[in-house]
């Protein structure tokens, strides 16, 4: 009697979600419409059906997201019959909480942290599920499944609580919260294999499509109202798909002809570059870009 590796990862993730539901007053699940959070939603169904989820869903919307993803997000939430909170970066800008970056390399990536922390405080959330995985990035490789945040929303990588067996310490003081990553032990390939096994729908931008793109820093970006072109950047049409779903301003596309799920899985299995290395400008700022953002409260 032995589970397959996907079944074992699933069982672990369900256990984590139920622990949080049992021990926290007000959890929330961060849903971006990306592949990892799509898997999180299925795991929540597995953990809590036939009852409703014991938490709402929340999306930190930069206003620069792919329209296809927003359409998918709303449709998926409606199918599930669950509640979605949209925390808007535009609202944070309008309220003067953050200042929009300017110029051709402007991104709302960093601004999300304020919007996220404000929303957590406003709603009184004490636990937030996220879809981050340890194989994504080396600071994440060191992070706990249940990761403590102080009352500033900060992560202290040097003072993490030991996490043993399947015993999670969910004790916090008022104003503090935890981030919970049920997919910590999944790889990108595990996520795609699970999507295939569970026949989960994903937004169309994960499949190859013709798109107007331009080249910057070795990556292909979508032509959109949210990104200014720099002199010399020439838009052209290419068959591309996305490996990760972030903002249009910081997420690169990869050339691809994979139009079906199985083609995508084959591409992922054969790739020689990590998803964040290939497609995320936000991780390229410095060697510790992710660690630095996480310390101040990023996802």
């Amino acid at each position: 009697m032995r589970l397959t590796h996907l079944q074992a990862l699933e069982a672990e993730a369900i256990h984590v979600m139920r622990e949080v539901a049992a021990e926290f007053e007000k959890p929330v699940l961060l849903f971006s419409g990306g592949k990892d959070s799509i898997v999180l939603l299925r795991l929540a169904e597995k953990a809590f059906r036939p009852a409703r989820f014991p938490f709402p869903l929340m999306h930190v919307d930069t206003g620069h997201n792919f329209p296809e993803v927003i359409e998918f997000r709303d449709r998926r939430v409606a199918e599930l019959g669950e509640r979605l909170i949209v925390a808007s970066v535009q609202d944070s800008i309008d309220a003067g909480r953050v200042v929009e970056e300017t110029g051709p390399r402007a991104s709302r990536n960093r601004l999300q942290t304020t919007t996220l922390l404000d929303a957590i405080a406003e709603h009184g959330f004490d636990a937030a599920f996220g879809g981050a995985r340890r194989d994504e990035e080396r600071a994440r490789a060191k992070e706990r499944i249940m990761s403590f945040r102080d009352d500033f929303g900060g992560w202290d990588p040097k003072a993490q609580r030991p996490e043993l067996w399947n015993l999670y310490n969910g004790r916090i003081h008022r104003g503090e919260h935890v981030r919970v990553f049920p997919l910590s032990n999944w790889t990108e390939l595990d996520v795609w294999q699970y999507i295939v096994a569970e026949e989960l729908e994903v937004p169309p931008i994960y499949f190859a499509h013709e798109r107007e793109v331009f080249r910057r820093d070795g990556m292909l970006y979508a032509v959109s109202p949210h990104v200014e072109l720099i002199d010399g950047e020439e838009p052209f049409s290419a068959s591309v798909r996305y490996r990760t779903v972030g903002d249009m301003s910081c997420t690169g596309a990869v050339r691809s002809s994979a139009v079906r799920l199985h083609d995508v899985v084959a591409e992922i299995a054969a790739t020689t570059i990590t998803e964040r290395g290939e497609t995320r400008a936000d991780d390229r700022v410095s060697e510790a870009a992710m660690e630095d953002r996480k310390v101040v409260g990023y996802f």
């Binding site: 032995r2 080396r138 993490q160 067996w165 032990n185 390939l189 020689t272």
Partner: protein, 422 residues
Amino acid sequence: MSATSNGARRPQAAQSDLVRLATAGSVDDGKSTLIGRLLHDAKAILADQLDDLRGRDGELDLARLTDGLRAEREQGITIDVAYRYFATARRSFILADTPGHLQYTRNMVTGASTADLAIVLVDARKGVLEQTRRHAFIASLLGIPHLVVAVNKMDLVGYSEEAFDAVVRDFCGFRAQLAVRDVAFVPLSALHGDNVVERSEAMPWYGGLALLEHLETVRVDADVNLDDLRLPVQYIIRDGDRDYRGYAGQLSGGVLRQGDEVLVLPSQRTTTVASIDVFEGPVQEAFPPMSVTVRLADDVDVSRGDLICRPGDRPSLARELVADVCWMTDAPLRPGGRYAIKHATHSARAIIEAVDDRVDFDTLERVESTGELALNDIGRVRLRTSKPLAFDPYARNRATGSFILIDEATNDTVGAGMIVSA
């Protein structure tokens, strides 16, 4: 070591199983080189990560792979557990890479807590050291069923059979002090790849498997306790519209079947299993580590923290227990100390009655304690809990035999306990 530019990741079957590994050692043992070699040869390091591992001088530094935090890279040491992932056609592996130094024992204990197999590194030139014994002992104490002694740097001893035999002989000298069921020895050179993925021609005298072959084939299916049914109740799932009431949890022992007569602790009520539900529908049976929801035939009082077992095979139910505790914080563990205790899905309070002994890592002997445990100490502790716990000895069941202690003021996890007896 060549780049992976032309290499695809190894095929990974959707049907492979999941094996958890822990490594311990320091940079000096070649631990990072070994992990780097395993990941590299299993095609789990991709080209951009490989570029990232080159220092300013362009030399490949595999330690950078696992030392993910700014402080670790600055100091050139592994402090915290790093988790790495690789897969072969047969198995998916989660590797908890832990620091080997004495002052990070708590991090090693953390990484070892869930492992099926531990790799202990020995430098063939230095042979079995105090550190080797300590790593093997911690693996044993944490109930890791399989141990591989990786005798590294064989290239630096001329691939000598005598050097390897000396390590085997020295290790077997204290083998009897370990509870590990299965120990394998592999002579290898992580730097040159001898006996890591492929069997080496440099050591024709070695008739065993290469390390990765061993990891792929070691029998782990018998490690799960399928005898004693243990289902800690984690969460109650209620749906008023459908009149649904189910008890959710992750099986930590035994096989549960629909129609089974079960006993609920601590209430001691007996009932039968009406159905075992998962998202896809009811299933006939469940086994560890499945997460399931159980409906019971009778309307008995069951809450989070209760334990479902068989009437004829029940765990101990007691408020006093004896455990080996690894202490994880600066303020020492002392008699009279009060802590929150989390055991399976049950939370209570605990008071320390006495610290009976402490493990001396030099000799692996238990020595008389000073009455307290300091940071990174492991020792035998007697404690009393505010409510009865339903537990098994750790040696019998790692899930129902373990607990953590939490400081009620700081909320930090300060101790890890492995129950010996009531």
